[in-house]
Amino acid sequence: MRYLHIEQARLIDPSQNIDTVTDLYVAEGRIKAIGRKPESGVVEESIDGRGQWLIPGLIDLGGHLAEPGFAQKGAIASETYAACSSGFTHVCALPDTKPVVDNSAIVQQILEKAQQARFAHVLPLGALTPDLAGEQISSMAALQEAGCVALSNARRPFKNSYVLRRVLEYAATYDILVFLAPDDVSLSASGSMHEGPVATRMGIPGIPRTAETIALAQMLLLIEQTGVRAHISQISCARSLVMLRQAREAGMSITADTPLANLIYTDESVTGYNSLYKVFPPLRTEVDRQALLAAVNAGELAISSNHRPHDVAGKKTTFIDAEPGMSMFDGFLPLAMQLVDKGELTEEAFISAVSTVPAEVLGMEHGLKEGSLFNAALIDPAQERCFRRSHLLSQGRNSPVAGMTLKGAASAVFVDGRRVI
């Protein structure tokens, strides 16, 4: 047998409470040995891991890959390549493509494109309602059979509580996992940013926190009633965390994630009408940001990318007219590493929030142990990278790191043992 040998890297895997400098041997896509040389076979390739972290590959619980339907903004190949460059090995693709992921043919098409691209695994999220219209129940079981890991309505609303109730009941029938992003559009639809002093000063119609918390209350009550397996996507408010905690104390097993952008920026970033920082859920205040960081550090919250690539035209217009979203994949790792560097996130909490917790949400086997498929990232925390605008891997022209030089890079990324970076 011929081995890939990763030498003396700091192996960190929160799922097994491991943090140790060791050797790791990979063959046939799987980890064959940790800490000791396999008895037979030869080392074909050796990577010096000294000073680097070897961690389970990052799993994104929600990103937009722009395909099918938005060829001017991105493609599965370009976006998963960008994701891999930040250490992602798995990306959950949101269903609000064109056409919407509401039938097995589209799921098939996405999986085939991802296979051809040969970068990160794409885990399709199917639509909970046909065309995401929020009115009827989609062919959930068929979507699941076609390969959807969970179903979601992206940020589109359900027509009313009745539809949501029936959608959740039906999903519970087949033990389908649902991802719900809380947003009461009657409160959020006219807004473009967080409602607060900055929005008032700029004259931008705001999105109050209650747009999230009211929808979250409705969702939590119906999740409890229907007993569906549910994950709450894209939390942005401190108050939502309190509500999630209360739900857990009442015995519900509910998970949640927050977009990385909401851990880094606040509504102050929007000052000067910078449309790059127009994202949904909106960037909120420092109080919210601190609460979200604390929840990640406490292991209560996963971090998602909420990656959403746009072409120049999508952002180069007035703030209100600009499309929401940030191209996050290129800069995801160094931006998160900055939080670790500043002490806002612990190393362990960060790694757990992007690998262990998402794997638990999806019920995936995902750890660095002997016999497992080798999905991992070798990260050099000290390596500096310059993100030249013309060298970004995502097609999106709306990356917050464009033109910056940042520390922390994936020096090697493996998907099922195959080196992609």
């Binding site: 409602e195 607060g196 002093p197 929005a199 008032t200 000063r201 700029m202 004259g203 931008i204 119609p205 705001g206 109050p208 102050e268 970033s269 000052t271 000067g272 009408y273 910078n274 035209a313 180069k316 217009t317 007035t318 703030f319 209100i320 007219d321």
Partner: protein, 334 residues
Amino acid sequence: MIINPCNVQLTADGRLKHFLTTEGLSKALLTEILDTADSFISTQEREIKKVPLLRGKTVVNLFFENSTRTRSTFELAAKRLSADILNLDIARSATSKGETLMDTLWNLEAMYSDVFVVRHADSGAAHFIAEQVTPNVAIINAGDGRHAHPTQAMLDMLTIRRHKGSIEGKVVAVVGDILHSRVARSQIHALNTLGAAEVRVIGPRTLLPRDIGGLGCKVFYKLEDGLKDCDVVIMLRLQKERMQDALLPSGSEFYKRYGLTVDKLKLAKPDAIVMHPGPINRGVEIESTVADGAQSVILNQVSYGIAVRMAVMAMAMSGQQQERNERAQAQGEL
């Protein structure tokens, strides 16, 4: 990370090159605008009203949102500065054909214009255009969404100064739909910078934006409380749509609570002046007797509007000219 939105409108040495907002401008600069406008008022009274300050320059009225009154005063102001003027009603042409804002701008730049007077329904539109256009084009904000209407605010400042002697030490109340008002926001910044003793906003909670007090004003929910001892009362226009948006029960209910009547005006100082950016809704915001009464200066505001618009166009053009000269000089040195 935080960019001061006001820096875009100034040259390196702090002179006006665009006029986007009153926020962040110095007292000296705002006073310079008022002084310049004052000097234009006297030229308006002459038989020959034109001055040659913008001769050979092209001013484009770029209105993405309809407004006959503001557009006419800008047109008149540009003509009295001897500029050529082009009126573009984008609301009814380009963008409805699917052309993006950037496409429209590039087309207009190709026509070698010198000043864009911009009105747009989106807050920040004038700011965006100022950042995107080629150098040498001065942007004058003629109203962007709920954000700013700085020439209206400055003509209001001029009105106060001419009728009350100065803005310093004055108590000024702004009444009505503050939530949707770009005028109110621009007034609050200008009044504070120019030394008003107190700026008050008065309206029901549905028409007051969150945390408006943070802009430097005191919030009142009852007209009677807010009018007490005011030197200046500024009434805002109430759009009819507000009733449909579940912000107000009815026009008559609003008038009963927030309409300025002869009796309520008595709560202000006896020599208080009454202002309104127009067009007024008689019997909704203001009683006719008050609008046409001795304390009303509403019509004076209109004539000062032309002088203020002449002033900011002339000042911004001169700021642009100065930058152009500096650029030429820098290139020469290379």
